[in-house]
């Protein structure tokens, strides 16, 4: 549990690092082989950051739902508040799904570029999509945290 809570403080630092790594990749004029290596490293970094963020959000969600229960004095009040929170939480789940899908698609493109079946421009576009998806997770989490204060 301590490990999961610690992630809550580390994660905000991981996202900018991943995004910067990907934008660096998008801006540099490396050759195809080097580009594939850098793309793989950037994707691995982003995947680690997204997975760590997922664990951090799960820990926060667990505590937040417990806080909602503690702050509810009747079952009816609890049901209204918890269902409202879970509805708002769907945006976070959708952001995670989008990010994992984008990472998977970009990783597939790395292989296709290596096999000369896709262009470097395709790969850079996909990596930019991964960066956007990663940032959207943080926005969605910040939004649901801002909306919920039991």
């Amino acid at each position: 549990m301590k490990y999961r809570r610690a992630l809550l403080y580390v994660l905000p630092l991981l996202f900018p690092a991943a995004v910067i790594a990907i934008l660096f990749l998008a801006c540099c004029g490396a050759g195809a082989a080097t580009l594939s290596d850098r793309a793989n490293r950037s994707l691995a970094t982003t995947l680690d950051a997204v997975n760590a963020t997922r664990e951090g959000f799960l820990a926060w969600d667990e505590q937040h739902q417990a806080d909602i229960l503690a702050a509810s004095s009747t079952q009816g009040e609890f049901e209204i508040r918890i269902s409202g929170y879970r509805e708002r939480r769907r945006a976070v789940v959708e952001a995670f799904v989008a990010a994992y899908t984008a990472i998977g698609a970009a990783a597939g493109l790395v292989g296709l570029v290596a096999a000369d079946r896709a262009t470097v421009a395709d790969l850079i576009t996909a990596l930019e999509g991964v960066a956007d998806a990663a940032v959207n997770i943080k926005r969605a989490i910040d939004r649901v945290k801002g909306d919920d204060d039991p």
Partner: protein
């Protein structure tokens, strides 16, 4: 190393990727034969087929190199597992708090 033994040495995910590029390359071979057959002689057809097979070998070598080097997410099953992890994790949290609520209000 022959092409067959190179293929056999690939992990399962690599075999699938290699099969995919093979299908692509075989399509190129068919196209080369069809095109050459209508406008050029047998020797030209043979040369283009050999060129196409060379492309297949090159692609297979690149697939093998790519797999050996490691990568983030070749297997689509991994993406599904990552998505399941967030969905199932939240479902576990929901079930736990629902049980606690039942204890608090009905227990």
């Amino acid at each position: 190393m022959t092409m067959t033994s190179r293929f056999d040495a690939l992990p399962q995910a690599g075999k699938l990727a290699a099969a995919d590029v093979l299908a692509f390359a075989l399509g190129e071979i068919r196209e080369a034969v069809r095109h050459a057959g209508t406008s050029r002689g047998f020797a030209q057809v043979a040369r283009e087929a050999v060129d196409a097979v060379g492309k297949v070998q090159l692609i297979l070598a690149k697939v093998h190199e790519y797999l050996a080097g490691g990568h983030a997410h070749l297997d689509p099953e991994q993406t599904k597992a990552d998505i399941r992890a967030i969905v199932q994790g939240l479902a576990r949290n929901d079930a736990a708090v629902d049980a606690a609520a039942a204890d608090k209000f009905n227990g």
